[in-house]
Assembly symmetry: C2
Homo-oligomer: 201 residues x 2
């Protein structure tokens, strides 16, 4: 069987390491890049090279920020409510919550969740800096917005235990997604929606 030229094979191998990209997609992308305009390869390569060196983590919330800044865009806004912290797993979750416009406090990015199976313990994610923040700053509420998964729940529970009873700790509501169909909701979601039912006002 014929083999691909080495540079093409190398690109396919590198692309296959990305999540959600299998051997077929990788070779499609590689051949697309081969015949694409010259600037696409250059633009991608340059962005890839600069991404690690030009970005860093916010000293306050561990969100992604420019490497020459101490704090991220959100922590730099003095108008934001500093009394409430929303704890999320990943920087993308910050964007998702910001898009809703429903939260005016600051964030704390854990960069992961507790997962005994994968060997991720409390010291592998940013839980200790969160506890420090809550002790040092005047925090009234911690909203735990980890994913509604087993690991997300375990992480929320662990954080609650660590923070103690003197602070309001909440978790995002579970229930039917807006625009969804009751018929297609899974059993657990429906159970949580029932348990969390609210008065019509």
């Amino acid at each position: 069987m014929a083999h691909l030229p080495e540079p093409v094979q190398n690109l396919i191998t590198a692309l296959e390491r990305l999540p959600g990209i299998g051997p077929k997609s990788a070779s499609r992308l590689a051949f697309y890049l081969l015949s694409a305009q010259d600037d696409l390869c250059t633009q991608l390569a340059n962005s890839l090279i600069s991404i690690k060196s030009a970005t860093g983590l916010c000293k306050i919330c561990y969100n992604i920020t420019l490497s020459d800044r101490e704090t991220c865009e959100i922590c730099s806004i003095p108008e934001r409510n500093t009394g409430s912290i929303c704890v999320v797993e990943e920087p993308l979750d910050v964007l998702a919550i910001e898009r809703t416009g429903g939260f005016s406090g600051r964030y704390h990015v854990l960069h992961g969740v507790l997962s005994p199976i994968e060997g991720i313990g409390p010291d592998d994610i940013n839980i200790r800096p969160l506890i420090q923040r809550v002790m040092n700053e005047n925090i009234r509420e911690v909203i735990i917005a980890t994913n509604p998964s087993m690991e997300g729940d375990a992480t929320a529970l662990y954080i609650k235990q660590q923070l103690g009873p003197n602070i309001r700790i909440t978790r995002l509501a579970r229930g039917l997604p807006v625009g969804g169909d009751l018929e297609y909701a899974d059993q657990n979601t429906l159970l949580r929606a029932l348990a969390g039912r609210q008065e019509i006002d």
Copy 2:
């Protein structure tokens, strides 16, 4: 609303230019690359930079080859049957046919198909070099393996007209895909399968 740091946004913009990658996948990939091992970004960037400079087209069949070689791997094998040419649209199609092990001749890569809608005429793809090859070499058969689409068919017909009646010109068979289900076959495929029915031997 908060914005992403510029280097991250640049990477997302570059990734969005790839086929099949929308804004959501692009930001997922970008954040994956941000937190991935350092060598992944470097490996990808290096492969991207070298792919254009290190590869070129085979002087005989226009398949992808190393830039310091005249001919591709397949054209360099003296044992290959030089009397038959398989015409394909893209370099990936060469690999697909090679994988079957059912063809021992050489290829000719058109790098596209005729498409009046997109303004692609006979001079925009490698049809003229194919006709030259057929005139100069001792070719007995041309197998046209363009895609079974309207453009692929039009290209096949055009090539047949250009090559004239003195040479055997064939097209890949249409019919039911192996392992497929007659019930789910579309009308056109079934019609072609009926028209192309063969004696059981």
